[in-house]
């Protein structure tokens, strides 16, 4: 400049989209807050301790390997998000060291050891949860009663999904709370009567989160609402959650009724979707771009696989819950999906001659 001061040079482009990796991460974390708040409201201090220790574990796990590489990556938000997700998948009364160790494992071993953000091949948060499930199976399935919701009838200490499984499947007959019955009545009279349908009791409790479960997984409604915001803002892409829900719902509807002797096409989709960690995993964990395919077809295949494996694990697995392992299994098959995807697009390109003279076969393999 004329004052003698010179300006910085650089490479084009010089303007950018305002969205950065850290804004994406913090945005997703923010979207999880309503569901977390509901969990804190229900469980109180123990839940806060679980989530805090998990986040702390994740941050330490992120800082340790990045200190070795002399890169400061804490404020990109990815470790915070991992810690938050691990904490939200834990039962409220669990010993605080378990979420901390699980989250540390997630960021330090699953992510950091492979080179940090972007280089891991396994979903860190779910790997952390799986780590805890394998090491502390009893602790991971002893649920604390929510202290705020006195009229919840289930005192057996099992989640709806657990009860359902003990019964051999189907909707877990839990005595509904008074909130549930009044909302169900209102819905039935106001809305469903118009279609000649009726909502049985218990589902409202299930959806709003008036039940036993992990800290952040209680309220399916709040998780869905947050996902809608993220989908609309294109923070997460619709392909993965949609295909997970579609394949899981289809399988549950088709075969879910068999185990309780109801025959085909009688499975309880609503119950299956709203119970356990299904929604949190489908909308917030599985779409992690790092560990999922990046082409549309690949994402759909990945999601369908997760839905199917979840159904199989929930029906025949050793535990009532199977979403976490379903995602981890599909993470392992991402390279195979990529190859399949490339083969399919090559085949499609060879069938349709490129209309505009570009030889698509040269390019199709790339995505």
């Amino acid at each position: 400049m004329r004052s003698g001061k010179t300006l910085a040079l650089g490479d084009a482009p010089f303007a950018f989209n305002k969205r950065t990796t850290s804004s994406l991460m913090w945005g997703v974390s923010l979207a999880l807050m309503p569901a977390l708040a509901w969990g804190l409201f229900c469980f109180g201090a123990p839940a806060a301790i679980v989530v805090c220790s998990s986040i702390l574990g994740a941050l330490v796990g992120e800082a340790a390997p990045s200190a070795l590489r002399r890169r400061f990556t804490l404020w990109d938000g990815s470790a915070f998000l991992t810690g938050l997700l691990v904490g939200m998948a834990m039962p409220a009364g669990i010993a605080p060291f378990i979420p901390a160790v699980a989250a540390f494992f997630a960021t330090a071993v699953v992510k950091g050891a492979f080179g940090g953000l972007g280089s891991n091949w396994m979903n860190p948060a779910l790997a952390g949860v799986a780590f805890a499930l394998v090491n502390w199976p009893t602790e991971m399935s002893s649920w604390t009663l929510p202290n705020r919701l006195s009229d919840i009838a289930s005192v057996s200490g099992a989640t709806p999904l657990g009860i359902s499984r003990a019964q051999g499947g189907g909707f877990a007959a839990i005595a509904a709370s008074s909130t549930d019955s009044s909302v169900t009545d209102a819905l039935n009279q106001g809305l469903f009567s118009l279609f000649g349908a009726q909502l049985p009791s218990g589902y409202v409790d299930l959806a709003i989160g008036n039940k036993l479960g992990a800290v952040g997984e209680l309220s399916g409604i709040l998780i869905l609402a947050a996902s809608i915001v993220l989908l609309a803002r294109k923070v997460i892409r619709w392909e993965i959650p949609a295909s997970i829900v579609a394949s899981f719902a289809l399988l549950t509807w088709s075969f879910g009724g068999l185990s309780i002797g109801d025959g085909f096409f009688s499975g309880d989709v609503l119950f299956a979707v709203f119970s356990g960690s299904f929604l949190l995993v489908s909308f917030f964990m599985a779409p992690d771009p790092v560990t999922s395919p990046s082409s549309r077809l690949g994402m759909l295949l990945y999601g369908i696989g997760i839905g199917a494996i979840t159904f199989l694990l929930r029906s025949f697995g050793a535990r009532s819950e199977g979403t976490a392992f379903a995602v981890l299994l599909m993470d392992c098959s991402v390279p195979a999906i990529a190859r399949l995807d490339a083969a399919i697009s090559r085949w499609r390109a060879s069938r349709t001659p490129a209309p505009n003279g570009i030889d698509e076969s040269e390019r199709s393999g790339t995505r």
């Binding site: 400049m1 910085a8 950018f16 969205r19 990556t73 790339t366």
Partner: protein, 434 residues
């Protein structure tokens, strides 16, 4: 009129609020006290200097003669004394000689009545000679001399006048089409006579400016009218492949793309015998007090234009020529306007935003927006590992370096910067082979 159309794959809507109230018609910028005239404002070799230090030059006098193919004449944009002839850095990289002229004397051209040649009675060669003489080059980088384009081609499929400005901050072409519609269309008519295109299309965004004469008075009946296309200004709609796709849904046949400013320069040179000594420049950006389009003399230091626009609001974070997405950053205010300087953009820190690089998280946004359907993430990984030939197998060669991928990348991975390096290396290698 045809409804808004655009290309099929990718592209970005740039979310930068940068519109301003433009004075009509566009104002002439103040004459510079000193003009710095690069002898290389075109694709080929730098022009041969034909003036000496201390010599008095009149406005419009040749200061540099074209030297070989793709080179073009360079003219003095102001009258004055040649103070210096020195080598300085070109904003796009490399360096070239420049003639520094200190303003002096009178504008013998400005006061006089304009010459007026009737081009319909001129032959093809006569027109080409005028275009070559007056140093008319394409106003888009790299500034191909129009003579070289025209003398090679004839009876082309499509002549496309590209008035789209899909980058933020650029407004000069739209202003020119609005203010000088008749002159631009006259230039287009001259080009049609030389090139004999089957179709002539004006691609712009928005409604057709009132009074833009699409049918030429006195044209032979078999000559089709110029078609007007209103295209959505999704970036990079102004690139050749995207233009063709939007206009005809096909890959380029035999097409020539020109800017309205190029057509205007053709009109000026052929009809009025005026050399290319001024151009419309968009002077904009968040760091600027009063953004405007100005008609500036070639060789005007950009600092003069910025001063005329009220100066800076605060220290600019980046000073860029030719647009925020495809431009070149410069580090001082003495860089002069050339025939291809379509804009001077002073970006503030907020517009530049965070440059903090984080690793690729494979979000796939780069592939989503790539108008050439490439996978920038994959190409970058290959280039990073030195697997250049593999990257070219996967289509790196069709990258137009539009930078849409880098614009959306949340990790600020220097995608397009790496591709430019590879493409330039390839071009240099090709040059070496010839």
């Amino acid at each position: 009129m045809k409804p808004s159309r655009t290309f099929r794959h990718g592209g970005i809507r740039v979310e930068i609020d940068c519109d301003w109230e433009q004075k009509k018609p566009v104002q002439n910028a103040f004459l510079p006290n000193g003009a710095i005239i690069f002898l290389k404002q075109h694709a080929g070799r730098q022009a041969r200097c034909v003036v000496r230090r201390g010599e008095y030059v009149r406005e419009g006098m040749v200061v540099g003669r074209a030297d070989g193919p793709l080179s073009a004449n360079v003219h003095a944009s102001i009258p004055g004394i040649v103070r210096d002839i020195r080598v300085i850095a070109l904003p796009e990289g490399g360096q070239a000689e420049a003639v520094v002229i200190a303003l002096e004397g009178s504008f013998d051209r400005l006061g006089r009545r304009e010459e007026r040649y009737l081009w319909p009675s001129m032959g093809r060669n006569e027109i080409l000679a005028a275009i070559r003489d007056k140093g008319v080059v394409d106003t888009e980088e790299p500034g191909l001399p129009l003579f070289d384009i025209l003398s090679e081609k004839g009876n082309i499929e499509l002549l496309l006048v590209n008035a789209i400005e899909s980058e933020p901050y650029l407004k000069a072409e739209a202003c020119l089409l609005r203010d000088k519609g008749e002159e631009v269309m006259d230039g287009v008519a001259i080009l049609r006579k030389v090139l004999g295109p089957k179709r002539t299309v004006i691609a712009s965004s928005g409604e057709k400016p009132a009074g833009l004469p699409l049918a030429r008075a006195g044209a032979p009946a078999e000559e089709a009218d110029v078609e007007y296309f209103d295209l959505e200004p999704i970036y990079p709609q102004d690139m050749p492949n995207q233009l063709i796709e939007a206009v005809s849904g096909q890959k380029p046949c035999d097409a020539i793309f020109i800017r309205p400013s190029t057509a205007y320069a053709v009109h000026e040179s052929v009809v009025h015998g005026k050399p290319m000594v001024e151009r419309y420049v968009s002077v904009a950006g968040g760091a600027l007090k009063r953004p405007a389009v100005l008609k500036a003399r070639i060789g005007t230091p950009i600092g003069d234009l910025i001063e005329e626009c009220g100066g800076f609001l605060g220290p600019p974070a980046r000073l860029v020529l030719r647009g925020a997405l495809r431009g070149h950053s410069v580090h001082d205010l003495d860089v002069p306007v050339t025939k291809t300087t379509s804009a001077v953009v002073a970006l503030d820190a907020e517009e530049v935003g965070s440059l903090w690089r984080s690793p690729c998280i494979r979000c796939g946004r780069c592939a989503e927006v790539c108008p050439e359907r490439l996978d920038p993430d994959m190409l970058f990984r290959l280039v990073e590992r030195g697997l250049r030939s593999r990257a070219f197998d996967l289509g790196l060669g069709s990258c137009t370096t539009c930078g849409a991928c880098s614009y959306v990348c949340p990790g600020r991975v220097p995608l397009v910067a790496a591709f430019s390096v590879e493409l330039r290396a390839l071009a240099d290698a090709d040059k070496g082979r010839i």
